[in-house]
Amino acid sequence: MDRRTGRLLQRSRILSQILFTVLFFFLLVRSGGGDAARLWWAGLFFYFDPLFLWVGLLAGPFLRIFLLALAPLLLTLLLGRFFCGWVCPFGALNQFFTWLGSRPGQRRIPVARRPLRLKYLLLVALLAASLFTVQLLGWLDPFSLLTRSAATVVLPGANALLQQALLAGPEPLYELGRRVLLTVTQRTFLQAAGIGVIFFGLLLLNLHRRRFFCNYLCPLGALYGLLARWSLLHLPINDKCRSCNACAGHCTYYGSPFKDYLKSECVLCFNCVADCPEAAIDLRFALPGSGRRPALDLGRRRLLGVSAIGLVAAALPLASPARKAGAHSFLRPPGALTEKEFLKKCIRCGACMQACPTNALQPAVFQAGLEGVWTPVLVPTNGYCEYECHRCTQVCPTRALARLTLKEKKQFKIGTAVIDRSACYTYADGYNCAVCEEHCPVPEKAIRLREVEVHDFRGRLRKVKQVYVVPDLCIGCGICESVCPRTDAPAIRVGAEEEQREIPYG
């Protein structure tokens, strides 16, 4: 292939990366607004992710839509790791940051050969752990990582920065910006700092090693890399080659078609073809065995070793108290399966948090155990479960949250409210309040008032409307807790008492 063809392919690849990245963010932002009945597309990228095909196979019942993930698998057998080079939006972001960090005329950002193995070992360890029901693929899967980071850090952070910038400017500009760009209320996430440090840290590491995450950490890239060894598309060198090694100049990953070519690492970026002065690189379909056998040696012992590590690591959370079906201090979103099933299916992507209109769904820190990190929990002090909404159950790509109809969701018991009588104004201080009663969305009212005569905080006998909870009616939406006017801690709290977690599959 000559340089012109190479450049054409290169530009097509960049265009494809931009389009897929834009599509990804478009879907993500869109899933935060609009009609909840039509949200199936929110998980589009996830359905094409073979790691989650695997999660679905393990956790059952199998969702047929994940068969879509066979498409990139088959295409990888045909073409190699095109996905990492042409489709993956996180790959594109990493490439963009690598590009930002490499100034022309200076030394290129290097990449090392030995640590390339790391991603394969991580993949094997994660898969081994998932066999033992500890499913942490979503921690590193690029779509999970990007969705989670964008939903909890990038989008809210961009909104906050933009708002501050607009506030500093003239008022009409601020008003316009508020109308067309800003969210009506600033979204807040309790663990944003942690997720943000990891996300921006990963992006900055691109300045140290090019496409750091993709080369060293990405389990999805590793999976495609394993298959790419046997792919039918080859980049052979013809006899025009003068061994100038120009093809290595802008290789996205490692090596070059000329020297130390690793098929498992090639993402078909076509920078090499565009750089070759002699049109010495060809594009040819051939059987896998033919020609050179470029592959990274992972080492049988090493693979066995990390499998063992994965299995042992899986045992740790299994032995943690979080696995006991006893009392726990967190609330799960509506439709959440039993904790064991939920942890198997949840891929920690944060799509539910992005879809939650009231910002109630938050990434867990350690309250749900180590393996529950970044799983969604409902935090009423940050937001409530809106009675007329079932968006989170609609966007969950793996149905760790069962797909409830709005009617089902309205009856789904997330937990139960309890009143702290030592703090509630109507008990402790003897005066009226009833903000929680006002907001209770259950038409029959799960929070009610009864008029009693009590001594108020001045010692005077007076009539007060005390609030009380009807536990059987309470659905645990948490709006009571979110609006309690006490400023130290809410005097009414929703706990997991009587939470409904068994959902018949159907």
């Binding site: 809106e386 006002e438 969305p441 259950v442 029959e444 409307k465 609006v483 006017p485």
Partner: protein
């Protein structure tokens, strides 16, 4: 007091004393209550019977029309002001020469949800009003100068308009008994409004006496009679097909309370408003004209 201030105030007060009775004499009744077949028509009729919108809105005015958009509920669930009533008020304000009409509220549920499901956003836009969301960055301290409610954060949009038209919905309310026009003013407040539920009646009265509603139009087309203020169940809603209009917020609320079946003298916030000399609390002493359209 400076002499100049004294003289100026003197002129203002005496001219008020002179003109006041004249205006009252012109006005056919203090409170108009219209029952009829269309929420839009009865609203227009009620304002017309009150002497027309020109009595309240001058040419070139910027007018705030403040409905109750508190909840993510449909018009049928009767937790928010009826969009048709609102449309009539907005159109009348424009017809009276208003330069701009603004519609906004500080909602209890998520604002976008409430604006949308209540049908108010779409209707207000169609009628030509500017729909705004309450913006924390626009809060200013306003002094209500009340015994219970002093300084409190208010969205300055409400202070920057020429006229304020209060368009509440009449409904049941767990803690205050009823919510009508005076309670609707909670929607201009920011801050931790829940704190105002202690001594709520006194706070509502301070709120209404410390912030003027130039005109009150109470939507009682559908009335949530139980499980307010949020409701949700259609069996808790009764069709009363009525609109009440008045220039006096207490009188509007007293008449609406009567329509609801409550004696105003037993409603705490109405007692408190009466004690602040905002008007009569005995419905028999209010010039109420009731008609069917």
């Amino acid at each position: 007091m400076k002499r100049r201030t004294f003289v100026r105030n003197g002129i203002l007060v005496s001219s008020g004393l002179l003109v006041g009775p004249l205006v009252r004499a012109q006005a056919p009744a203090d409170v108009i209550q219209v029952k009829g077949a269309s929420p839009y028509e009865i609203t227009r009729r009620a304002v017309a019977e009150l002497g027309g919108m020109n009595r309240f809105v001058a040419r070139g005015d910027v007018v705030m029309v403040k409905p109750n958009i508190g909840w993510n509920r449909t018009p049928e669930q009767a937790a928010c002001t009826n969009p048709e009533v609102l449309r009539a008020v907005i159109e009348l304000a424009f017809a009276a020469g208003a330069k701009k009409v603004v519609v906004m509220d500080n909602t209890c549920h998520k604002a976008e949800d409430c604006y949308q499901r209540s049908g108010i956003e779409a209707m207000a836009r169609r009628a030509g009003a500017e729909v705004r969301f309450s913006d924390e960055n626009r809060l200013v301290a306003h002094d209500f100068k009340g015994e219970f409610l002093g300084k409190w954060p208010v969205y300055r949009d409400h202070l920057e308009v020429d006229k304020f038209i209060n368009v509440p919905i009449l409904k049941h309310h767990g803690s205050s008994g009823l919510t009508i026009a005076m309670k609707n003013l909670y929607g201009i407040l920011g801050g931790n409004r829940g704190k105002l539920h202690r001594d709520m009646g006194e706070n509502i009265a301070d709120l209404a006496s410390g912030f003027r509603s130039h005109l009150v139009v109470v939507d009682a087309w559908r009335v949530l009679v139980r499980n307010g203020p949020v409701g949700g169940r259609l069996s808790d809603v009764e069709e009363r097909r009525t609109v009440i209009a008045s220039g006096n917020i207490l009188h509007a609320d007293v008449a609406a309370a009567a329509l609801f079946g409550r004696d105003a003298r037993q409603v705490e916030f109405l007692q408190a408003a009466h004690a602040r000399k905002m008007g009569e609390i005995d419905i028999a002493k209010i010039a109420l004209k009731s008609l069917s359209a």
